[in-house]
Symmetry: C2
Subunit: 380 residues, 2 copies
């Protein structure tokens, strides 16, 4: 492994570099095989052997042709990650990281999250017969926690600085032999490569729009495409676009200011809670990738997100606000003519709208007595 | 098409026989092809050409090896239908039925449902650019309707006898050219055959446990296996088990009383709302199948369901109460020695637990200050 920023090498899997930045695995090269699951087809590319008999069928999600492409003058595809076992992309990374934890002899895994990742780690810990320690922030709602605690792990509401908790958990985990699978854990990031592999099996995209918070998902998809290119399986890298919300965009801000380091985003606020990390642990690593490959960072507003969420629902895909940011960004890229007409574009739909039902756009509900239903239907 | 009960033949697709019972398509015979989707691989077996370019990737769900099998002395597999585009098995039937509606020139589709089916029809109507009329009961909760109205159809709360609404909607639909895709619509039933086909692609089950309400899902899975046998693709039919809840079990009651006709179940009550139809429109058709093939009907209690729901969550699969009935039934079948040791069993997980979050088993949540997190973790 090596540090994504300073390049320092490590011979054993560590969580982060001594310089504080995320470490990453070497660039894997290989060839594709025939197999039913993404894990089997890209067997050469994982840093640990996936425990296939405990797979829940994560990954291998549909790439859906979008009707919205026409409106934007591009060929738009939606990578629907909401149909994973716990209904978000997190399961890909969790499965791989828990496979490592099991092989490394850990009896417990943990994570710091209140949303998709918490549910995912709790679910896979149960599946792998490992204890789970889920550290959530003190203002996590009861309803949200139900979708986590149902899997049976230890859910602990931690009073204190939630940002510090990320780093504290890694330290404590090392001491207490709990393997923490946080947002940009190196194995988790490797799991996300599958998204790139699956896309490349179907099309050669010009642009891939990635909702970006901690940076783990972006780094994983980027590494996936890089490995495909290094392996000679694709000729060119697509243009990756990191999408953030204006109310919390530490990566885009640093990128547009030409800085090499992100700064903590003050007073973050957005409906897209799943991507509202004010100080993303892989922020600098994402910045480096954006610069190196000439990629883009785009911010969108809450109202643009709500509009995009509605449009996606109009295609039959109900996603959480964070997942709609890609479509909102596409609109901006088209309006500013930064995207070529006829381009092949993929937007990643990260998680199910059922997870954020309270904030969902409210539709109208009429009332009608059965006796006069005839008239109610006619007057629609 | 012919009536499932009286056998009367119809040359055009109708919704129900004049005798009031459900009609069904002939038994299709064919051979499997190579293809990515279940629709392509079993192309010979659909009564209408699926509109593939509008598919949302429904079907092709994982068959997950269950750890619970060991405990029960059987080889248990879980067919995880919660990872469909609207997170329930309904999408398979909806996609096929909406494909028909589009080809038949309908401008609007409808359904009578407050749950999974409502969301599914609303989603696919949007996807197919058709109007949607979703008729829900007057006591449908606002929160539940949000997951339906978000897709943009006309949601109408109908005051009056909800049972009558099923039949009224078919009549009104015919008059007003709205194609109603209710629970046991003939195309919907055909769509569910894919579950049988996919299972048979992976294993040859001895038992298949099917949560049963209207009877549409049971009939679809049954017809799927029958067609596989008639096509020479499997040698023997599995034993199908219709599972109902004690609080609403009109089919099991009639079956165990040796009757040929179901009776309306008085004062139904259960937490498994998704399978609480007191007068299932395909009840008699299911009864006939159970009798003809020597299949089984098993009832389970609410407390057994909650226990099974917890056990499934312990495997990483969070399902709605109705979906846990199969596991609850398996326990009973094992206890009464009605199932051979070492049998290959498949239980159908029909829909996501996120849909019924309010009724989900509550897990414990601890509190801990960040400063003493060390101690909190040690004392777990």
């Amino acid at each position: 492994m090596k540090c994504s920023i300073c390049g320092r090498q490590y011979s054993k899997p560590v969580q982060r570099c001594e310089c504080g930045e995320p470490v990453e695995f070497e660039v894997f090269k290989g060839e594709p095989y025939i197999g039913k699951s993404i894990w089997e087809r890209f067997w050469d590319f994982w840093p640990v052997e996936p425990v296939m008999k405990l797979s829940l069928g994560e990954g291998d999600t549909p790439l859906v042709k979008s009707k919205l492409g026409k409106e934007f003058g591009v060929k738009l595809h939606l990578k629907n990650e909401t149909v994973n076992p716990t209904w978000s992309f997190k399961d890909r990374g969790t499965f791989l990281a828990v496979s490592y934890a099991l092989k490394a002899g850990y009896k417990a895994v943990g994570t710091v999250s209140t949303g998709n990742m918490a549910a995912s780690v709790a679910a896979y810990a149960s599946r792998f017969d490992l204890d789970a320690v889920i550290l959530v922030s003190e203002n996590a709602g009861d309803e949200k926690l139900k979708a986590v605690s149902v899997y049976g792990g230890d859910v602990i509401r931690v009073r204190g600085d939630y940002g510090r908790l990320y780093f504290e958990s890694l330290k404590l985990g090392e001491r207490l032999r709990i393997y923490f699978i946080n947002s940009d854990n190196p194995f988790r990031v490797e799991g996300y490569k599958g998204i790139a592999f699956e896309i490349a099996e179907e099309i050669t995209p010009d642009y891939v729009l990635v909702p970006t918070s901690s940076g783990g998902l972006f780094r994983g998809i980027a590494k996936g495409f890089i490995e495909l290119k290094e392996s000679g399986l694709i000729d060119e890298l697509p243009m990756l676009v990191a999408v953030q919300v204006g109310g919390c965009s530490p990566i885009c801000r640093a990128f547009h200011d030409g800085k090499e380091r992100i700064e903590r985003f003050q007073n973050p606020g957005t409906i897209a809670k799943a991507i509202a990390n004010p100080y993303p642990p892989s922020g600098n690593a994402v910045l480096k990738l954006l610069g190196k490959f000439g990629w883009e960072c785009v911010t969108v507003s809450d109202s643009e997100i709500i509009e995009a969420q509605r449009e996606l629902a109009g295609e039959g895909l109900f996603v959480q606000p964070a997942s709609a940011t890609g479509i909102a960004a596409l609109k901006k890229l088209v309006d500013s003519e930064s995207i070529r007409e006829g381009s092949k574009v993929v937007s990643i739909l990260t998680g199910s709208g059922l997870k954020t039902l309270k904030s969902a756009p409210e539709g109208e509900v009429e009332d009608c007595p059965l006796e006069t239903l005839d008239n109610c239907l006619k007057s629609r």
